[in-house]
């Protein structure tokens, strides 16, 4: 089975510092792949390169066989790769549902002149889009709060909203950068079951960067471990947990047992 | 069109480079202020202009020795920089557009105060060294040469200060990594004040030298500001070496292109160069990656 994403010799140098060095990793359709490693291992850098936010210094990225290595962010989104950011990146002063509507940009399909002249078909289109946004909100459990301002939501709900916005793309591949960081136990479990539902109900593949070990071990089908920009282990959660190199990399590092 | 001999070319290169150093001082001051306070100090050209007029007033009207007048002007402008930081820019910290517009308002006020006080006509400060010397068949005004030397000296002084002194190192750190330097306990207020004081002092030197070698008028700050900004973009923000290299490039352009291709080309050339540079290297020649 061909992988949905192939990371081939991916490298990123910042000045003289190798943040990611010759990373080779395949991501398979329908799996949840965990990307873990100590702080500074280069995990977010990998995500940023896949998402088109950072230019790789070397290597290749193949998404469904297509070379997307140097694609800018908006083209990556067009191809079907969605992402959430480490911090709560939302349109804070817009309502919850308008945030998701913003995420529906690519599927909006509203012609410029129709929009500018405020033609009736545009209003119908808008109504349909808002309906679709509402469906997405129902899926992530935020339908009650649809008219609240994003900025007023508690942290856990904001995270869920970030996910909703990314889902608006209907992306076959999702990049999740620390989806449960800063959440309490209840919020974590809600988010995790959401990600699981994405895989089971919608067939979405996810790459998840996380520090919360229990979340990673419990949720991911496979895990890749980075240390100092290099992959030091890859395999099932059990395999990785028992890997001596992995244990050594984490030795002495305080872990937040959420 | 007279024949352009190599002598004429060399002459204009030298002239351009000498004048360019004065603008380097502007660029360095602006760059320092911009990278530390994140404010585009639009009134910086006016500080330069005031620096020149203070020297004019002291040396021509009060009869004080030129170099003493320059020293006084530098100190006064440094103090002005501190006052501006404390009462003008610090209350607006965190905003981007507001301090810029406040500085624009200040720019208008200062230009018109000087116009009211001294008149709109250009003035000049009698040169402190009116002779010219001939080196290899090129005429160099001694005062201009000395002006260049003084500018280079101040640039070196700044360089040494930034590399050696405790405050200088702190400034360098603050300009490259604002958050990190705050975490290290470096007071942002003090850094901003220092940047404003040093930047304004450098502008005063530039203004004084320009007034002495050329002319002064109330709008001289506008040209200096633009040239300083061009140098910053050419060389990259926050980089001293970049400021120097940018200044040299600008000086060369002003000299060579002006003579060979005329004033239109000389005006357009820096912009064209910058546009091309930005496509290739968005951070400028030496600047940091944003």
């Amino acid at each position: 089975m061909k992988p949905i994403l192939q990371i081939i010799n991916l490298t990123k140098y910042f000045g003289g510092l190798g943040a990611v060095v010759n990373l080779n990793l395949d991501v398979y359709q329908g799996e949840i792949l965990g990307l873990i490693g100590p702080n500074g291992a280069g995990k977010t850098t990998v995500i940023n390169m896949i998402a088109g936010a950072l230019r790789p210094s070397g290597g290749k990225l193949l998404f469904r066989g297509e070379d997307v290595t140097h694609f800018p962010s908006h083209r990556i989104a067009e191809k079907g790769i969605g992402r959430i950011f480490q911090t709560n990146t939302l349109f804070q002063h817009l309502s919850v549902i308008t945030n998701v509507r913003a995420g529906l940009y690519l599927r909006g399909n509203i012609g410029f002149w129709g929009d500018f002249l405020s033609l009736p078909y545009v209003h119908k289109q808008e109504a349909l889009l808002y309906e679709e946004a509402f469906e997405i909100l129902k899926f992530v459990g935020l339908s009650e709060q649809k008219d609240q301002l994003a900025i007023n939501l508690p942290h856990g709900n904001q995270r869920a909203l970030c996910l909703a916005v990314a889902l608006a793309l209907k992306p076959p591949l999702l990049l999740l950068d620390e989806p449960v960081t800063g959440m309490n136990a209840e919020e974590v479990s809600t988010m995790l079951s959401l990600i699981r539902a994405l895989r089971d109900k919608k067939g979405i593949t996810s790459i998840m960067v996380e520090h919360n070990m229990r979340a990673v071990m419990g949720l991911c089908d496979r895990i890749a471990v980075l240390d100092y920009g290099k992959k030091i282990a890859e395999g099932s959660p059990v395999e990785v947990a028992g890997n001596p190199a992995v244990i050594e990399a984490y030795l002495g590092v305080e872990q937040d047992a959420d | 069109m007279f024949e352009i001999t190599t002598e004429v070319l060399l002459q204009s290169i030298i002239n351009g480079l000498i004048l360019g150093w004065i603008y380097v001082l502007m660029a360095l001051g602006l760059s320092l202020i911009l990278s530390i306070t994140n404010i585009l100090q639009f009134a910086h050209g006016e500080v330069y202009m005031l620096g020149a007029y203070v020297v004019y007033y002291l040396s021509v009207i009060c009869g004080i020795n030129f170099f003493v007048a320059v020293l006084i002007s530098v100190v006064l402008m440094g103090i002005l920089g501190l006052l501006l930081e404390r009462f003008f820019f610090r209350p607006l910290r965190g905003e981007f557009l507001l301090p810029m517009v406040a500085a624009l308002g200040l720019m208008i006020i200062l230009q018109s105060i000087v116009t009211v006080g001294f008149g709109i006509n250009p003035k000049s400060i009698p040169s402190f060294a009116p002779e010219s010397i001939k080196i290899l068949s090129i005429m160099i005004g001694v005062d201009r040469a000395i002006a260049a030397v003084i500018s280079i000296a101040f640039t070196l002084l700044l360089f040494i200060f930034l590399k050696v002194s405790k405050y200088g190192l702190a400034l360098t750190a603050a300009s490259q990594h604002r958050e990190a330097s705050i975490l290290q306990g470096i007071s942002p207020n003090r850094m901003s004040a220092l940047a404003m004081a040093i930047g304004s002092a450098l502008a005063a030197v530039g203004g004084a030298l320009m007034g002495a070698t050329l002319v002064l008028n109330p709008s001289m700050g506008n040209t200096a500001l633009i040239k300083g900004l061009i140098i910053i973009v050419l060389g990259g923000m926050g980089s001293l070496l970049g400021g120097v290299v940018g200044g040299i490039i600008l000086g060369l352009i002003d000299g060579v292109v002006l003579v060979l291709f005329g004033p239109i080309a000389a005006s357009v050339a820096p912009l064209l160069l910058v546009a091309v540079l930005l496509v290739i290297k968005p951070q400028g020649l030496f600047g940091h990656e944003f």
């Binding site: 410029f112 | 517009v101 208008i108 496509v279």
Partner: protein, 336 residues
């Protein structure tokens, strides 16, 4: 309470527009009609700047594009004998084209670089106009720029542009049309995307928005209308000489930016109000001559410090002050 306010707002705008059309009936003073004409041109300029600003960018290139617009329209009319209506449009299109060409390299950079670079371009265009004297007349400039061509209306008569009143209506109509287009854009999906880019450009990119293209579009539209304003200026003044064109660079860019912030960039009408007030008000203390800029600068600084959201925020501030007063009156015993 708020529906009453929106009712006032909705009925007052058409009423206000009608009022604007009626002004020349009781205002006959040609000097003030001239000032109002300039105010209209400034309103177009500031709204163009505001459009660019809605993507988060601060353009300091207004003066340069105004120069391009003014000289292009004047020269096309004088050298090629084209009609004003055509030359005005062509000026706008040329400015938009220049904006697109400049936008690609310039808008990739960090915001402040864009501001610095557009400032440099404004000065470069001014200097080109200054030095290219064979084309633009240099310091002497262009004089005798023709009036807009008359518009024959079959059955009624011909609209000719001769008196200050004619020009007042010309500028009024073009200003209203420009505002209509620009405001409509702001309210459309394009405006929505622009605001999203301004707030979180990496989030916008991650949902598929081509940020650079949208920014360049805003820059191009803004520059188009700036060019229109420049053309209007040239055919209104009939003269482009050193004392006016000397301002076609940094100076104009600075003043238009000041108008925008003074009026308040939070609402569409803010910059319009700022441009209007700051064009008309200085004329009232024109008698102060050289002290006028000092007062102007002081006014700007006062607003920046004491009403940073601009003049347009004044009613809201009164309302919230009154609301605060009401609640504190109603609850005298409050634990802090």
């Amino acid at each position: 309470m708020s529906s009453k306010i929106s009712m006032i707002k909705h009925s007052s705008i058409p009423a206000f527009i009608i009022f604007l059309f009626l002004i020349p009936i009781f205002l006959k003073n040609t000097y003030w009609l001239h000032v109002l004409g300039i105010a209209g041109i400034n309103v177009i300029l500031v709204s163009s700047l505001h459009t660019i600003r809605s993507t988060g960018e601060i353009s300091m290139g207004t003066g340069g594009f105004m120069a391009i617009g003014a000289y292009t329209s004047a020269l096309l009319a004088m050298k090629l004998g084209l009609s004003f209506w055509l030359t005005m449009l062509l000026s706008g299109v040329l400015c938009a084209a220049v904006a697109v060409i400049l936008g690609y390299p310039l808008m990739r950079t960090k915001g402040i670089y864009f501001s610095i670079l557009t400032l440099v371009t404004a000065e470069v265009f001014r200097l080109i106009a200054w030095y290219y004297s064979s084309l633009t007349g240099g310091a002497v400039g262009l004089s005798g720029i023709p009036s807009p061509n008359s518009i024959p209306i079959p059955g009624i008569g011909t609209i000719i542009f001769e008196t200050k009143v004619d020009y007042y209506y010309l500028i009024l109509v073009i200003t209203l049309l420009s505002l209509l287009v620009l405001f409509r854009l702001q309210n459309s999906q394009v405006g929505f995307v622009w605001r999203n880019i301004r707030e979180m450009d990496h989030l916008a990119a991650s949902v598929g928005i081509n940020v650079l293209r949208y920014k360049i579009f805003a820059f191009a539209i803004g520059s188009f209308f700036t060019g229109i304003a420049g053309a209007l200026f040239a055919h209104f003044m009939h003269l482009l000489a050193a004392d006016t064109t000397g301002k076609f660079g940094m100076t104009t860019s600075i003043y238009i930016l000041i108008y925008m912030v003074f009026g308040g960039e939070g609402k569409y009408m803010g910059p319009v109000l700022g441009a209007f007030i700051l064009t008309v008000l200085p004329e009232t203390f024109r008698a102060m001559k050289e002290y006028q800029p000092i007062i102007f600068g002081a006014l700007v600084i006062l607003i920046v410090f004491f009403m940073p959201q601009g003049i347009i925020s004044f009613p809201d501030r009164i309302l919230s002050w009154r609301r605060r007063k009401e609640t504190s009156d109603r609850m005298p015993l409050q634990s802090s």
